[in-house]
Amino acid sequence: MASFLFGAAGFVLTMVAFGLVAVLRRPAEVDHMMAAQLLGTGGVAVLLLLAGATETPPIVDVALLLALFAAFAAVAFVRSASDQEREVSEAAGGG
């Protein structure tokens, strides 16, 4: 069972890796913002599978924090982008 779960963790990690490369290579900033969400689901899945495979329940807590802070980081991304927009428009309007 352990090796199956490890294999699954490796597979999901590979998928997350491809997804991250796809998301981070695109030029648009909105695509970059998806990176945190991608890790929020993929990273949590990898950690839960690792916790099952190595039978180390505390790893589940890492997954919990990862989920929480991925959401937090995504909020920071969106806020920062909207901030930039406001500053640019203020600079354009106010001279």
Binding site: S3, F6, G7, A9, G10, L13, T14, A17, L20, V21, L24, E29, H32, M33, A35, A36, L39, G43, V46, L47, L50, T56, P57, P58, I59, D61, V62, L64, L65, L66, L68, F69, A70, A71, F72, A73, V75, A76, F77, V78, R79, S80, A81, S82, D83, Q84, E87, V88, A91
Partner: protein, 313 residues
């Protein structure tokens, strides 16, 4: 070649790639996003190194809080890009060679380990039972190297004083310049109402479980800080001015209780920061609870930055 090592190789390649891209990409925004992703991935690497406590800290601080801090700066610095000349190619090449040499030196140190690997693990495990704790890392943090932990709290407060002292005189004691995402009807408001109650439960859980399993005051405090920031960013709660008494009390309550118990140890247990036998665990838990609050407030205020305006009245 087992599945396990394939997993580790994949993880290392991913971490190296994302790490390199934080240096290589042109846009600061993209670099910071890559750094956040890097921090979250690194916590998986720490899990693989059997350091779950570190993984928790890295996910919370390395990923979430540092990213939040830097993204705030990116937005402000974007307009004011100094036209710094890029370093010339020969310089870059020579710097590259030197950095490669340093990395190679570190790698050699990894590849040629000492004959007898020094370890303090047996010493920690022998004495852990006396403290009543089940988590060896918490044992090290609060018993074996309690002075480090105490001084680290002092460092946090000193750093915060440093950040605050960067404010102009006219706004000293004012309100930190945290940018608020000013859209009251947005879904962010909903998230800021939904997530903090969950986050507070998680923080209490982290603090509580820290005595027995990985977790503790650092992780719990960081979760509290993140939730506080989220509520302030969404505009549900005003950013407090730094001269508020409750704020300053919360900031020092952890170190003060820690210090008081440490000084009491000089009388009751014959050494600074020693715990009287039999009372170690309750004392440590008390210190952890107070520290969680103080760390939460300190990290939140560090991320909020120096004061930028005074309270209007």
């Amino acid at each position: 070649m087992t599945i396990l090592s394939v997993f580790d190789i994949g993880l290392v390649v991913l971490i190296l790639g994302i790490g390199a891209s934080t240096i290589a990409v042109r846009e600061a925004f993209a670099a910071v996003i890559a750094f956040v992703v890097y921090g979250l991935l690194l916590s998986i690497a720490w899990v693989r190194l059997s350091a779950v406590d570190v993984a928790l800290t890295e996910a919370a601080i390395g990923g979430g809080m540092t990213g939040m801090l830097m993204l705030g700066a990116v937005a402000r610095l974007r307009l004011a890009k100094g036209n710094d000349a890029r370093v010339s190619l020969p310089t870059r090449l020579s710097v590259g060679v030197l950095c490669a040499l340093i990395a190679a030196g570190l790698a050699t140190a990894i590849l040629v380990p000492p004959e007898v690997i020094p370890t303090l693990a047996p010493a920690v495990m022998e004495n852990l039972a006396q403290s009543g704790l089940g988590n060896p890392v918490a044992g090290v943090l609060f018993v074996y190297r309690a002075l480090d932990t105490l001084l680290e709290k002092v460092v946090l407060i000193l750093a915060l004083l440093g950040v605050w002292s960067l404010a102009p005189d006219s706004v000293w004691g004012g309100i930190p310049g945290l940018r608020v995402y000013a859209r009251p009807d947005s879904t962010l408001t909903f998230l800021a109402q939904l997530l903090p109650p969950l986050g507070i439960v998680v923080a209490i859980y982290m603090c509580w479980v820290g005595a027995k399993e990985p977790g503790g005051a650092f992780q719990g405090g960081t979760v509290l800080a993140a939730m506080w920031l989220l509520v302030m960013i969404a505009g549900l709660e005003n950013v407090p001015s730094i001269s508020q008494r409750w704020l300053r009390l919360l900031l020092v309550v952890g170190p003060v209780i820690f210090l008081a118990i440490g000084l009491a140890g000089m009388v009751l247990a014959n050494a600074f920061l020693a715990y009287p036998p039999g009372y170690a665990k309750p004392l440590i838990v008390a210190v952890e609870i107070a520290l969680t609050l103080s760390i939460g407030v300190a990290l939140g205020l560090l991320a909020a930055g120096p004061p930028e305006r005074v309270q209007q009245q």
